[in-house]
């Protein structure tokens, strides 16, 4: 099966049916390994055991931005190439991205209270992440508000590309402005500054959460294709066209 074959929803469904069980199993195994490694990781000399929150906070924060990146590529696919699965991919990714962003915000808040003395601060990193969460909710609302999928797709694609401006703002907010949030310690020029005892469980959890996203995304795309088949059959039924 070539990449171009995946533009065909039926072939895409056939592929997902074959790989989803394997992806789900790999995700579960890697999550279990990651959770075990996180539990066994030593306490940080400054933060104590609260450093364990990092192992779930950081993967969720990375994925909140990565998912928007995936949606931005899909938006290009919708507007430029009119790929039949591009809008399906974007629509299916939005609720998952919103969930990751919500988790990044709440776990960050729960980490911030003991370390910074506050759950929330209106600084650049936290505020731009909150804006990302609100943009996800806005996109989901847009898809629900417009009944015709092709009209909703174009509007959502434009909104997604405009919203992509926020991604570098989130990433570099800690460098551009004074914030309570620490600067990047893994994805930075010069390599990670983190000790291997923390870095390895963090990377395992990041890969596990990425696999979780891929699994959920493919499953949600499959559901969206089926939903569109339901809609087209319902329209055939309503129009009284012969089968």
């Amino acid at each position: 099966m070539t990449l171009i074959d995946l533009a065909n929803p039926t072939k895409f469904l056939s592929l997902t049916a074959r790989i989803l069980p394997w992806l789900a199993a790999a995700t579960a195994i890697l999550l279990l390994i990651g959770i075990y490694q996180s539990a066994m990781a030593p306490d940080d000399y400054q933060q104590g055991a609260t450093v364990k929150i990092m192992f779930i906070h950081v993967p969720n924060a990375w994925l909140s931005m990565f998912v928007w990146g995936v949606m931005s590529l899909a938006a290009l696919g919708t507007l430029v190439w009119r790929h039949p699965l591009a809008d399906v991919a974007a629509k299916a990714a939005a609720p998952i991205g919103a969930a990751f962003t919500f988790l990044a915000l709440v776990t960050g808040s729960l980490w911030g209270r003991p370390m910074w003395g506050t759950y929330w601060e209106w600084d650049a990193r936290l505020t731009s992440m909150l804006i990302l969460f609100l943009m996800y909710l806005g996109l989901i609302a847009l898809w629900r508000a417009v009944e015709d999928p092709s009209r909703a797709a174009r509007a959502a694609a434009i909104l997604t590309l405009v919203g992509a401006i926020n991604i570098p703002i989130i990433k570099f907010s800690v460098d551009w402005w004074n914030t309570l949030h620490q600067p990047a310690s893994v994805l930075r020029a010069g390599g990670p500054t983190m000790d291997r005892a923390f870095l390895i469980p963090l990377l395992v959890m990041a890969i596990a959460f990425s696999l979780l996203f891929i699994t959920l995304h493919l499953a949600a795309m499959r559901n969206e294709i089926l939903r569109r088949r339901v809609r087209s059959l319902q329209m055939m039924q309503a129009s009284g066209r012969p089968a």
Binding site: S14, A99, V230, Q237
Partner: protein
């Protein structure tokens, strides 16, 4: 819990919350899949079929 120090409640709450939200996502996707397949089967049972003639519920 005591091994997690004075901020154990923050750590445990974070992990439980992530587990709950991930579980909700998995259940939501699974229920949505079953619902769409049921709707397709109901439509096909009422005599509405795709132009290709293939079953829409088959993957």
């Amino acid at each position: 819990m005591s091994a997690l120090g004075p901020y154990a409640s923050f750590i445990v709450t974070s992990y439980v919350l992530v587990a709950v939200v991930v579980l909700i996502l998995i259940v939501w996707v699974a229920i949505d899949y079953r619902r769409q397949k049921e709707r397709l089967r109901d439509l096909e049972a009422s005599g509405i079929v795709r132009r290709s003639g293939r079953s829409a519920a088959d993957i």
